[in-house]
């Protein structure tokens, strides 16, 4: 079920009303209802994979209990490792098996991979919920979290439908305790959730989906385009993937607020970053911090020798690339970002920009504008690699860019207006949680007018329920 579909528009109010008016008597009832609703939400796509998510959840929950039971024995470590292997094994089977089999066949079997490939369907959101479940068992093993004995509570944590298929990848330390406590409806939080949903829909439907038309057309026929068109398509893809993914996150966080649940922030205006390090603190925060906490820091982080810093940086970026999918383009994308990040970390400048850009000023300085522009260009080059079907396609695309000419501009005016609108609002609202955080406005008429204008724009630009890019990961 897509957030931008009619099915969800019916599903959400029904679940909301039942949650607050029928299942509100006790926490267990509410959690059980969350699990039921989430499984319907997920099963709408393909019910067979409900068994997989239930299996993953059960294994992580069980391992949490066993780790706690055998806390001071070697058994705890064995169970912990088994659970990690099991979770990553399931992920590897569905997501990476064909990739490795194909690569193996190319190397040793002259490309004859027919008998090796399984052609399994990739379950939607498998990377997201696997990482979420893993975070729980790792935290229990590290004694940062008490294991929960309530299986329903744990299933609700893993399958909570707003963030089930594309994040944010929640930590058990943040989300699980919220399922332990009774929830009460908060008017301000509820209204803010609705606004955030609307803003997420704007980013997804009005910005990302309209950019997608141009981007798909150009990337599918890049050989025949001149450099100017290729540059525009690359910029539009950078904006599309931001609108698509951050739009999804906004809808997820907004929806969770309606149920009295606070999810972590996943994006903080990444295209207003002044260097790559700042970009990575603002882009897909839940995944970046996951890798930081569970991979980078255990490897020693940056408090090791320079050689090990380089090793750790490459590991984390390669993993991050590989997490996105089984394709060499994602690995190349991760490597590219590692190379951009390394100079900053080696010179100790990776935490230079921790504040908001142009803080307490309306406009950025010339220097800040230049920094943001440069960062955006560097990130956009990375997106060309990310969007391409193969490394050779990415390379050809980039090498064609210098052949400038008159660009293809069909439909670009609407795109430009919507993109400018989005970034204008996000710039003004950059210190707030999301673009439509309008709690400071007192006039109801003004607020209602803004909502209606956005809805009218959505009506005029929508092209049907388009899927989200990050569902494939």
């Amino acid at each position: 079920m897509l957030f931008n579909s009619l099915e969800f528009a019916i599903f959400l109010p029904i679940v909301f009303l039942l949650y607050w008016f029928v299942f509100n008597r006790n926490v267990k009832g509410q959690n059980l209802f969350i699990v039921m609703a989430s499984y319907i939400f997920y099963g709408w796509w393909d019910w067979r994979f409900l068994f997989l998510i239930a299996f993953t959840s059960f294994c992580s929950w069980g391992s949490g209990l066993l780790i706690d039971k055998y806390r001071h024995h070697r058994t705890a470590t064995i169970i912990h490792i088994l659970n990690i292997v099991l979770n990553l094994g399931v992920l590897a089977l569905f997501k990476y098996y064909d990739f490795f089999a194909d690569s193996f066949a190319r190397l040793f079997l002259h490309g004859n991979s027919d008998k090796l490939l399984l052609h399994l369907i990739l379950p939607v959101g498998i990377s997201f919920y696997t990482f979420q479940a893993l975070s729980y068992s790792i935290d229990v093993y590290r004694q940062k979290l008490e294991p929960t004995r309530d299986i329903i509570q744990f299933f609700a944590f893993v399958s909570f439908f707003p963030q089930l298929v594309a994040g944010p990848i929640e930590r058990a330390t943040n989300l699980l305790p919220q399922f332990e406590k009774p929830r009460t409806f908060d008017y301000t939080q509820g209204v803010d959730g609705m606004r955030q949903i609307l803003w997420g829909l704007f980013k997804k439907v009005a910005v990302a989906d309209t950019c997608a038309v141009y981007v798909d057309l150009v990337f599918e026929n890049y050989q025949y385009q001149n450099g100017s068109t290729l540059i525009i398509a690359a910029i539009l893809f950078a904006i599309q993937i931001y609108g698509d993914f951050s739009g999804y996150s906004d809808i997820a966080i907004g929806t969770a607020k309606l149920f009295g649940i606070k999810l972590m922030r996943n994006f903080r205006n990444p295209y207003f970053s002044r260097d790559i390090a700042e970009f990575w603190r603002r882009w897909h925060i839940s995944l970046t911090t996951w890798f930081r906490d569970y991979v980078y820091i255990p490897l020693g982080g940056s408090r090791v020798s320079k050689g090990n810093i380089i090793r750790n940086t490459f590991i984390i970026f390669l993993l991050s690339g590989f997490w996105h999918g089984a394709n060499w383009t994602f690995i190349a994308w991760g490597t590219y970002h590692a190379f951009l990040f390394l100079p900053l970390i080696l010179t100790g400048k990776n935490r230079k920009y921790l504040n908001e850009v142009a803080e307490s000023r309306l406009l950025p300085s010339l220097k800040e504008t230049g920094q943001m522009l440069l960062t955006f260009i560097l990130v956009t080059i990375g997106w060309i690699i990310f969007r391409s079907d193969s490394i050779s396609q990415a390379w050809q695309y980039i090498t064609l860019i210098p052949h400038l000419g008159i660009p293809y501009t069909e439909g670009l005016l609407t795109n430009a207006l919507l993109i400018i609108g989005m970034f204008f609002v996000e710039w003004l609202q950059r210190t707030r949680e999301h673009g439509l955080d309008l709690q400071f406005l007192n006039s109801h008429i003004l607020k209602f007018s803004i909502y209606y204008i956005i809805i009218i724009i959505l009506f005029f630009v929508q092209k049907g329920a388009e899927s989200f890019i990050y569902f494939q990961f």
Partner: protein, 326 residues
């Protein structure tokens, strides 16, 4: 929670009212159209077609069967329900809407058939149904053919949201196909006058006749219904450019299929496939459709044949019962 629910309801009520008003306004603009195909549907929904002869079929009925000529020769009141790019399922839905909207029960139906009659409609010219989707019966019928969702019927403006460009062009009178006064209908007939263009034919290697089981079933149901209501049905194979006819694969199979369908109902087939008109591109604008000159001559010929065979309304019994092939 009460405050939240009340405000949410208020917000969506205003939104609904706004969308509802816009929907009514757009629909009103469509209902003013007299050109194709909305002119046709508008006539049906205005419930004042008092025809004793109905013409049904695809675009080959729509641009080839001229009611003005049929009326003057046969002294009847005819109306053309032909549908561009549509096969039998959509044609029968249109007929049912015609009847349901209290238009006159016909005495004779001229049912145009060709190798594409028993095909699926493939969503061609789907927009023609959009202004009328608030009619739940039409919506329920046509959604099975054209994949309309419940929202198209129940959520204001939703149905128009898929056709923003067409809707804007139509409202502003910019759409050539839908708004050009040259294509204003006369009793559902569209008088197309274009020169011969053989480019489409040149691309065709072989033409296959359709035999979709659901379409055959639908046609049988329709014929049974007509029989029960004592409505005379005549199948008409209008002229088809001979260069295209030669490319039809297994044409005997097509004839046998139509014979087997008509046999139980004793329905005559008037076949103009090999009529002299079919041999000259001067009468066609493409391999499938006659131009104005061709349509005029064909309609005249058809009217006289109907009269001579006593198939027109007014004759109690046709001259022949079976094997009417001309």
């Amino acid at each position: 929670m009460k405050k939240f629910l009340l405000r949410t309801i208020l917000f969506f009520s205003i939104l609904y009212l706004l969308a509802w008003s816009v929907d009514i306004w757009i629909t009103h603009q469509f209902k003013k159209l007299e050109s194709s195909p909305f002119g046709n549907w508008n006539d049906i929904y205005s419930s004042d077609i008092q025809s004793d002869v109905l013409i049904m079929g695809s675009s080959r009925a729509y641009v080839q069967f001229n009611p003005r000529i049929l009326d003057s020769v046969l002294h009847v009141n005819s109306y053309n329900l032909g549908m561009n790019g549509r096969a039998v399922e959509s044609q029968v839905i249109k007929y049912h809407t015609y009847r349901r909207k209290h238009n006159a029960k016909p005495k004779l139906i001229l049912f145009e058939i060709y190798q594409g009659t028993l095909d699926t409609s493939n969503g061609f010219d789907r927009i023609q149904f959009v202004p009328y989707l608030k009619d739940p019966v039409l919506w329920n019928d046509i959604r099975k053919v054209d994949d309309f969702s419940w929202a198209d019927c129940f959520i204001p403006c939703w149905r128009y949201s898929h056709y923003k460009k067409d809707v804007t062009d139509i409202i502003m009178g910019k759409s050539v196909y839908y708004c050009d006064p040259r294509y204003t209908l006369y009793k559902g007939f569209c008088d197309f006058d274009k020169p011969w263009d053989g480019s489409r034919l040149a691309k065709i290697d072989t033409l296959h006749y359709s035999r979709i089981p659901s379409a055959i079933q639908e046609l049988n149901r329709f014929l049974q219904e007509c029989k029960e209501e004592d409505i005379r049905v005549v199948f008409v194979m209008a002229p088809y450019y001979v260069g295209a006819t030669q490319k039809i694969d297994d044409i005997d199979g097509m004839y046998n299929l139509f014979y087997s369908i008509t046999e139980p109902y004793q329905i005559p087939i008037m076949d103009y496939t090999y009529d002299p008109l079919s041999c000259d591109t001067a009468y066609f604008y493409n391999n499938t459709h006659l131009n104005r000159k061709g349509a005029t001559l064909f309609s005249l010929k058809l009217a006289h044949d109907l009269d001579s065979l006593h198939l027109a309304p007014g004759y109690a019994k046709p001259k022949y019962v079976r094997k009417y092939d001309l």
